[in-house]
Symmetry: C2
């Protein structure tokens, strides 16, 4: 099977972009990626679109064909991929498999979400569609509520502190300061986080990723096509995905997201690598507790030791393993369907030395979670 | 690259199934397919779920993980595929590519939709999310309305008659009489169709596929795995997909769905076959005019000659090319995300001699359309 590379990337700024619709955002990211790759529209053979809920947000399903048409790509196959907040990475995975299959040499993957044209009450309700309607949303459990349960148990069992959670937010806001694409470019302190409005105790406003609009695109190519178009392809060394029960009450253990652990082990197996071979992480920090869970579940620190690891500065740029140099979902923003693709865009830039906060990695792992862990997608990218 | 086979299939009855939810339906079809294939849950390595709009119909996105969990398949990768009414076939296509990639040996593909728990006004509005919200749905164009425009132009340009349109419905209802899975098992006459309520002139109630609940599942396997499990695999000889602009006003010609034509040419090219090598069609007859457009666009009769071809009985069982022996969307029912998978299930049964109306084919083409032609997926299956 051919190796698969990213040969071009582009993204919109993330933020409250009231003057742009979902399709505008996707087209903008697609155009940037085409230009970056130096590839013509006619060379793109298939399009995958990561999007969680255009139906509920904008009353428009079937966005894959709309995006293909508006991007000048019809009549190529265009398919929407949905796995809640992991939709973007799941779309990359389908593009990766499509090239591996031998049917295609170059495929475009766009992730996009338009979230801010509805009220915050409505967006909370729509986001709850990624949890169980029957057992969670219907009894009033919001995502901050579900992650608050995970945080509270982690604090109870391992002594993780609210200050350690806050440390994740402080670091990611610091990283986003240099990132021109980031939604929240604002320096904050641990005290700011602790004093911010309680959303679902112990989660406070500044523990949460914002609701954002945005789009991100990568262009994937087979080894032969990649080498004909660029001297600096970024290789997809592994692409792994796992599922779990959607409801927290169905799981054996709530101090870990099993899908993250399964997907990262599979990714390392595919790439024939170990954790110490990974130089940098872009991971799913929808809430600060999610980053602590992730560095543990992905195997970079022992279970229960994530809070201390953050507190000690080991996840900062210059630390043992830089986490979310882009600012992460927490500060770069979290337009659901775009987030996974934006992680790949950041990885592409990091590995080519073009990122805002360059960590000079040889290999990056990305980690994208759907809901409260019912889906996890892990990729490993290398130079 | 390995060949890919269907090794097992199952489906629920289609209809107004008020006592069953989306997940119940998917699990029922999955269990039947597992039993039919004689394969254990642990051998299934990935799940693809075709579903158009669980978000708008049931407020539940992320159904892929729910279905995986409820089917006892976690932690395998589970991904929802959406391409409006072509979601089911698009999901089969991703399963096909996943096996072709070499990453998987056996993959389950389920299509499911739960449509009848909302009012008919609401389902019309939700279905309109497969057309352009901006240029079509917002000005009141429903799907019957859009297809009425296509029908009226076909009648004007080629002399197609309302009686010929009605003939499609009569044939498909006749075929469904024997199909225990069909939603509408009721014999009707041309006069019944012509006298039925006008929905959007010239489309009448009995020109329309019903709003249905249902699920269908196929299990795909690599050649090696298929041959180890069954002596009668059904091979996927081609899998093709194409897109078009979502809005009718953006197209050059409205007497043809270009995506259908592009996808069928590509499918025949992949399989190295010509139209005369195809013995039977399961195609997308969401409205009677859609079946006439399809037999023309797929190359089985010249443009404009479809109405006469139907009138002459050439699409009946025993005719030149049997079309929709299952009853089609029109009479078997059209639970959106399930329809494309149900076409594959019918093909599997036809090619194994197990179908209700057996046409004894060596090769079947299936054709599944999203919206008014912004997506088309064509598969060719053979013994």
């Amino acid at each position: 099977m051919t190796r698969v590379a990213i040969i071009g990337a582009g993204m919109t700024a993330f933020g409250q972009l009231w003057e742009k619709g979902l399709i505008d955002l996707a087209v903008e990211a697609n155009n940037k990626a085409l230009e970056d790759a130096g590839i013509g529209r006619k060379q793109i053979q298939a399009l995958y679109c990561g999007n969680m809920s255009s139906g509920m947000f904008t009353k428009q399903e079937h966005v894959s064909s709309l995006i293909a048409g508006a991007s000048g790509l019809s009549p190529i196959p265009s398919t929407r991929i949905e796995a809640a907040c992991a939709s973007g990475s799941a779309a990359i995975r389908e593009g990766f498999l499509a090239i591996k299959s031998g049917l295609y040499d170059s495929v475009m993957v766009v992730g996009a979400e338009k979230m801010t044209d509805v009220s915050s009450t409505a967006s909370t309700r729509i986001l709850s569609a990624a949890s169980s309607q029957e057992f969670e949303a219907s009894i009033g459990a919001t995502f901050p509520g579900l992650y608050a349960l995970l945080a509270r148990l982690h604090m109870h069992r391992f002594g993780t502190t609210e200050e350690q959670l806050a440390g994740v937010a402080v670091k990611n806001h610091m990283n986003a300061l240099n990132n021109p694409y980031a939604h929240l470019r604002k320096k904050i302190s641990v005290e700011d986080v602790l004093r911010s409005q309680k959303i679902a105790d112990p989660i406070k406003l500044l523990d949460c990723a914002p609701v954002s609009d945005g789009a991100a695109t990568v262009i994937l190519a087979s080894e032969k096509t990649a080498k004909s178009l660029t001297d600096t392809p970024v290789w997809i060394e592994a692409s792994a995905q796992a599922s779990d029960t959607i409801s927290l009450h169905d799981r054996d253990d709530l101090t870990s997201l099993n899908a993250s652990a399964v997907a990262s082990r599979e990714a390392l197996r595919q790439a024939r690598l170990e954790n110490q071979d990974i130089d940098c992480l872009e991971l799913h920090d929808c809430f600060t507790i999610a980053e602590i869970l992730a560095i543990e579940d992905l195997g970079f620190v022992g279970k229960g030791k994530g809070g201390k690891f953050v507190e000690d500065g080991q996840t900062e740029i210059g630390g043992k393993i830089p986490v979310n140099p882009s600012g992460g979902l927490k500060a770069k923003g979290h337009p659901i369907g775009a987030s996974g693709v934006a992680q790949a865009v950041e990885s592409f830039w990091q590995l080519r030395g073009e990122a805002a906060n360059n960590t000079n990695p040889a290999r990056i792992m990305t980690h994208n979670v759907g809901g409260s862990g019912a889906t996890a997608v892990v990729h490993i990218f290398g130079r």
